[in-house]
Amino acid sequence: MSIKIRAKVKGDVCTVKALIKHPMETGLRKDKKTGKKIPAHFIQDVTCKHNGADVMNANWGGAVSTNPYLSFRFSGAKAGDTIALSWADNKGGSDTKEVKVK
C-alpha cells in the first residue's frame, strides 16, 4: 500500500492531489468461490497537515472507491512547505507520506 501525493501552489492557493492504494472492501461483497463475505477493510480516517497544522481531516466509509483519490485546496502555502498525508483503516493499518509543495 502506498500513497502518491502532489501539492502545487498557484498564486495563494495550494492544490493537493493524492492517490492511495487500498482495497476499500465494504464488508458486503461475497467471495465468488467460497460464498463467504469478504471482511470489511477500508480507510476510516485521512488527515492532511501543512507544516504540522491540520488543513483537512476526512472520515470515510466503505463507499469510497478502491484505490481512493482525493483532492482539495487550501490557502497560505508557499513552495517548499511540507504537506503530510496520513490514513488509518479499520484493521489498524496506517501510512504517512510527506512531500514538499511545488
Binding site: K36, P39, A53, M56, S65, K91
Partner: protein, 155 residues
Amino acid sequence: MNMKRRVFLKSTLAGSAVAVAVGAGLVAPRQVLAAWPKSAFEAKTVQDAMKGIFGSDLSEASGDIKIKAPDIAENGAVVPVTISTGMKAESIAIIVEKNGTPLAATFNLAANTEGYVSTRIKMGKTSDVIAVVKSGGKTYSARKEVKVTIGGCGG
C-alpha cells in the same frame, strides 16, 4: 487408485480455501477509531446519516453548492465526484441516497481550506448524490442524479 488420488486432492484443496477465508474473518480485529462516527456510517437512511454527523437531518437547499459528477456512470464502482461551494465550509459530506449505507465520506476543513473536495465513490444503483455543507453552524445541501448502469456494491 488414480481416481481416488484425484478426489482426495480436490477435497483437500476446497477444504483449505474455506479454512483460509474463515480464518481471515476471525482474525480481523474490530478496531474502532474514536473519531470515526460509526453510527453515521452504518446508518441505513439519509436522515439517520445526517443526524449522525450534523446532529440534525434538516438542511437548507442551496444554489451555492456545485456537484460535479457524471450524468451517467458506466461503472458504479468508480464515480468521480467533486463538491465545490463559495461558502466558508466547515465540513462537507457526500451522501448517496440509495446506497445500503448512504454516507460515503465526510471532510472536515480548516479555516484556510477552501470549500472544494474531489474524490471517487461507489454507487450501488442509480441515485441522487447529496452534498451537505456545514457553514456558520447551518447545514446546506444540494443534490444531483447519477444514473448507474453497472452497480459498484456487492459482487
